[in-house]
Symmetry: D2
Subunit: 383 residues, 4 copies
Amino acid sequence: MAKRLSYGMVGGGQGAFIGAVHRVAAELDRRATLVAGALGIDPEVAYQSGIELGLDPARSYRTWPEMLKGELARPANDRIDFVSIVTPNHVHYEIAMAFIEAGFHVVCEKPMVTTVEQGEALVRAVQKHKVVFGVTYNYTGYPMVKRAAELVKSGKLGQIRKVFVEYHQGWLATKLEATGQAQASWRVDPTKAGLGGAIGDIGSHAENLVSTITGLEIESVCADLTAFVPGRALDDDAAVLLRLGGGAKGVLTASQVCVGEENNLSIRVYGTEGAIAWRQENPNELHFTPRSGSRAIITRGGPEAGEGATRATRIPPGHPEGFYEAFANIYRGVCDAIVASREGRTPTGLGAEFPDVVAGLRGVRFITRVVESARQGGVWTRI
Amino acid sequence: MAKRLSYGMVGGGQGAFIGAVHRVAAELDRRATLVAGALGIDPEVAYQSGIELGLDPARSYRTWPEMLKGELARPANDRIDFVSIVTPNHVHYEIAMAFIEAGFHVVCEKPMVTTVEQGEALVRAVQKHKVVFGVTYNYTGYPMVKRAAELVKSGKLGQIRKVFVEYHQGWLATKLEATGQAQASWRVDPTKAGLGGAIGDIGSHAENLVSTITGLEIESVCADLTAFVPGRALDDDAAVLLRLGGGAKGVLTASQVCVGEENNLSIRVYGTEGAIAWRQENPNELHFTPRSGSRAIITRGGPEAGEGATRATRIPPGHPEGFYEAFANIYRGVCDAIVASREGRTPTGLGAEFPDVVAGLRGVRFITRVVESARQGGVWTRI
Amino acid sequence: MAKRLSYGMVGGGQGAFIGAVHRVAAELDRRATLVAGALGIDPEVAYQSGIELGLDPARSYRTWPEMLKGELARPANDRIDFVSIVTPNHVHYEIAMAFIEAGFHVVCEKPMVTTVEQGEALVRAVQKHKVVFGVTYNYTGYPMVKRAAELVKSGKLGQIRKVFVEYHQGWLATKLEATGQAQASWRVDPTKAGLGGAIGDIGSHAENLVSTITGLEIESVCADLTAFVPGRALDDDAAVLLRLGGGAKGVLTASQVCVGEENNLSIRVYGTEGAIAWRQENPNELHFTPRSGSRAIITRGGPEAGEGATRATRIPPGHPEGFYEAFANIYRGVCDAIVASREGRTPTGLGAEFPDVVAGLRGVRFITRVVESARQGGVWTRI
Amino acid sequence: MAKRLSYGMVGGGQGAFIGAVHRVAAELDRRATLVAGALGIDPEVAYQSGIELGLDPARSYRTWPEMLKGELARPANDRIDFVSIVTPNHVHYEIAMAFIEAGFHVVCEKPMVTTVEQGEALVRAVQKHKVVFGVTYNYTGYPMVKRAAELVKSGKLGQIRKVFVEYHQGWLATKLEATGQAQASWRVDPTKAGLGGAIGDIGSHAENLVSTITGLEIESVCADLTAFVPGRALDDDAAVLLRLGGGAKGVLTASQVCVGEENNLSIRVYGTEGAIAWRQENPNELHFTPRSGSRAIITRGGPEAGEGATRATRIPPGHPEGFYEAFANIYRGVCDAIVASREGRTPTGLGAEFPDVVAGLRGVRFITRVVESARQGGVWTRI
């Protein structure tokens, strides 16, 4: 059993949702222990949140710069191994850069940053400081997504022709932000969310799913963004035509006004020889149809689950793994990569598969170009 | 029980597929009897096909002009009541116009004609000659499609915001036309199919489904058409962004290269107050989700089927009705309308609900504008 | 194209449901034409029903004995080829026997008769008079049921171990018969329905499905029958443990008080090497799972549909066939067998696959033994 | 946030599967920390397993009596709060009794013990020593199971008439135990598993699900148990007819030879006014059908999830929770009850809902009576 790593968290204290998810994910496999935190923008909330979580008061910092300083002041073998950044989008860059430059490994929420320039700077910094950097495109952690990518790579789909990806939610169909709801409020605020509304918040997950499964670059986009709910500055609905490498095409839609939809993220990929389909709300199944055969339902843990998915699996088939477990696979990958890095090894398996800083940049570029295309009324725009 | 009408058929003889479907559909409810035909382009095939179907040899015509002449030569009360035109697309216009001008009612396959001008001329002719004209957008005949339209009309969805419609098949993923397969061959040939490949053959069904259910006009389109199989002159894949009346938006995709897909036609409509989803391959169910409630599975014949669907239903819930029964509903509607017309009544129910010549023109206009948008590289184009 | 046969119908006139279904089924493929009838127990209703259906008044008989006499009085080449018996159960025997003895072929509703002795007598009569006799266990006509039987026969399931079959409806969950509803009233009346309520009406379909697919005899039963709705003389719910040939076991349940269920007939068969599952409400799919592979969704008309299902299929995959089409396959089989019989051939294909008089007897025996087992408080009873 | 409790574990060390699941479940919500263990039957394996899990070597005991003694030797405020017993079935009793008598709270795997007498003794001991005792009928922890129970209790189903429950697996369809596979080997061994094979291992989960959701007692059973795989001493397949309180009836099937099935546990309950259906492999959905309405798909976290399910939920709807999360709900309940007990409060919510020692006894009684019924060839046997 691998030794547990130590980590700190920035953001994610009282009242936050995603912070708690990160903590469950990080600790599910006993691979990491929270030992430090700057758990909020308000110094007192940050401190109290850490105390409630049982942190050593000395390591429940009031601000992230204090945390950075405090951890650096500790002996090298008693510092956090990595930091998890779970703040709103607009402060990711500054925090991530500071920790990278201090030599810490990083896990960062998506979208990674709010401009392409910031993204490029982070890529350079990660390369220079040789740190491990994971972006929590968490859906990529589902075992059946790994199986899908494996099927594409193995040639079972032949040449990819068409990709349909969609992420539809309904929770922002009304003006929820007007009620003060925290999750809604920062997401519809351009100063916190960045350029994109739905396209940034959930469209970027869809984009990452396409990249992860097909291995193809999205080369250009033609987009139509809409703010259906009156008074919104950012899109709450996005439809994007895609052109991908190798002549493939695609359609990506992301919407937060599809009433009745919860987290309906799905992808279908059609090649010359076969097709796959996967849906996040029923994630333990992957459909695969060869060109001249019947549709097969491949299950997590089942007889055709494959190597990559099996590595990302904890319990037997028919016992559903869900959102937490997929999210935890990102953390397992990061932990594996950190350990490999220390031991001078090239990471393999989960340690080589999590979305990294380059995937983070790819996502930011995608959002940026989609917004540009839409602003010009739907012109095909290169990425 | 209503008196049976008499009809003749043009096209649809030996080797044809859709002709037999029309005959089953026309006769399923004992509302019409085939009494005449010009059942093919080859005069001998046409004649023999009629004989095999048990037609009176005198009414198994070798060509449609002979049939038109022959039927007009009969006493007015012993002629066909209507003609069904099931030839390839490029000859619909000429035949339809000739029969309309002779005062016959018409059922015509879709797409109705190959140019907007022809479509407009047919609309004028139908209005002038006061004939009943039905276009076999057969999917519109499914009871649950009627229920969907009823829910929209009743306001249960509120204001429509977003429509996703798709029709995906896989049968043309390889170059099937190179094997001489009849169905494939004319569909990929611009001289027979018209401007559109997949967009005309199946995309037009998707368009009609949108119009029928939402009651909204598609105002402009931004399209990307592709011929994935090398050597094809027409598209075998289409992706179209839609803008509809009332500020609604949509995405329409039609593809014949989605390997493993059979006739995966589906529509999802999201409004401010509710959403619906329907899928042709499981047509006896309609999903309805109110904004603040659980998804309900409305079944054909079930407790919330509604009036329109019930009228279009023959057997109890849980006993599936399928493709033939939906198709037959178009014919029932046409027969009802013909009877109403004779009796000087305004048709109601099924007789008021089938796709008419205006719907046929709408479809032709849609295909034409989509092709124009795509040829210009994806420019938003008004319909 | 085969010549159309002529048939007459006993029962099934005004107000009846199943008669109309038989007529659609018989005529869907243009294989048979209704030319005579004694369409009800009330002579006037019978006569008027025939007139409404367009029968020659001379052949719209007031009673079935008149019909028998009238048809025999016609020239041999101008009589009905077969008779369809769609009356309530208690009069099947007398009518069927009379027509058999006069040399007519017969289609009979299920359960075929109300006692084992009657069933045995019919078997002898059919053998003696060499007539074709079909029982409308209509669910057996679904193409995917044929595919299921083929998979079992081919050994893909290995040795059968376990069968789960159920037919659950909810329409009799309240005392519907008290409202005078016709379908409910005779079904709950032992003088018309026979020994069994739910077990006879729908349990017998489940039994036939087991026999048809597995090819195994049910050797003994242990049953619990219940009349949940107060005041019912017959069961409205049945649970039966089965022991089948070859050491297989099974569970059969039939209920008409499962609120919300429509016609939820399903079967799952597990063998040493594979398993199948099929559900009537989504009949175009068959699930097959090999012991060490993924579940495959075999579709009607699809690449693994097999020979028997293809023979029973009219339209391409993805265009649903339903209840009528399955029912029509029984009629096609009977017509094929009649033609083969005339030509002195052994019928093959559909003509060899429809449920015959032996299947009808098997069903009656099953119902009888189940009722015996239940009356003794659930004793294992041999069939 | 509640203070974390300390617990020890007996069994579940190296090579064990379920021990790791318990640890994830216990710690997922940061409610309990593993501080002691006797993690295996082999003393050295037990010790090493504890070291690997990071236990203080002084508390990684070689045997459970040592652990009991060791913990009692510590100051009262520094002992384990409860013990988790995850050994094979035959030793549960002895261990549980010892810890209860020493005043420790207990979590115990199911089936709780191997005889009714042992079960009754444990019930008395728990009552006498006033300890909290949870049995890990883990499926009961799923939020939608709580919702189902709530719907029954609220009267939405009216009077319960019929229950269908099944738990079908395929992993023992071949003689897996002959390969030495650990999970298979003890389960098919009567000296370790007890009286029941499939009926004990998984049938007991089905029984608990019935009790939990319907609130009805199973009053008598009529069973057919089979060992399909040659050479097995215990059943690998069970079919049981049920009679429940209030005149309800049911069918329970449990099988480990259903090839292709993973953990297909499902329940359907029909009452006079409505019905529910739930399936473990897709656990975030619950189907509810009122007698005169459409089927509704109630989702975990969705608008009709209800109070009990919401309490048992961590993340928003559409983000699947799975097996671990349900299992963790049992531990949350036990922890809540321990805290309430210390504070002299009556537990509520999760603390009042987990399966307790009485449920454990009920399960043992059920298994015992089913085996008795089957041994007598299927006689109705009172529970």
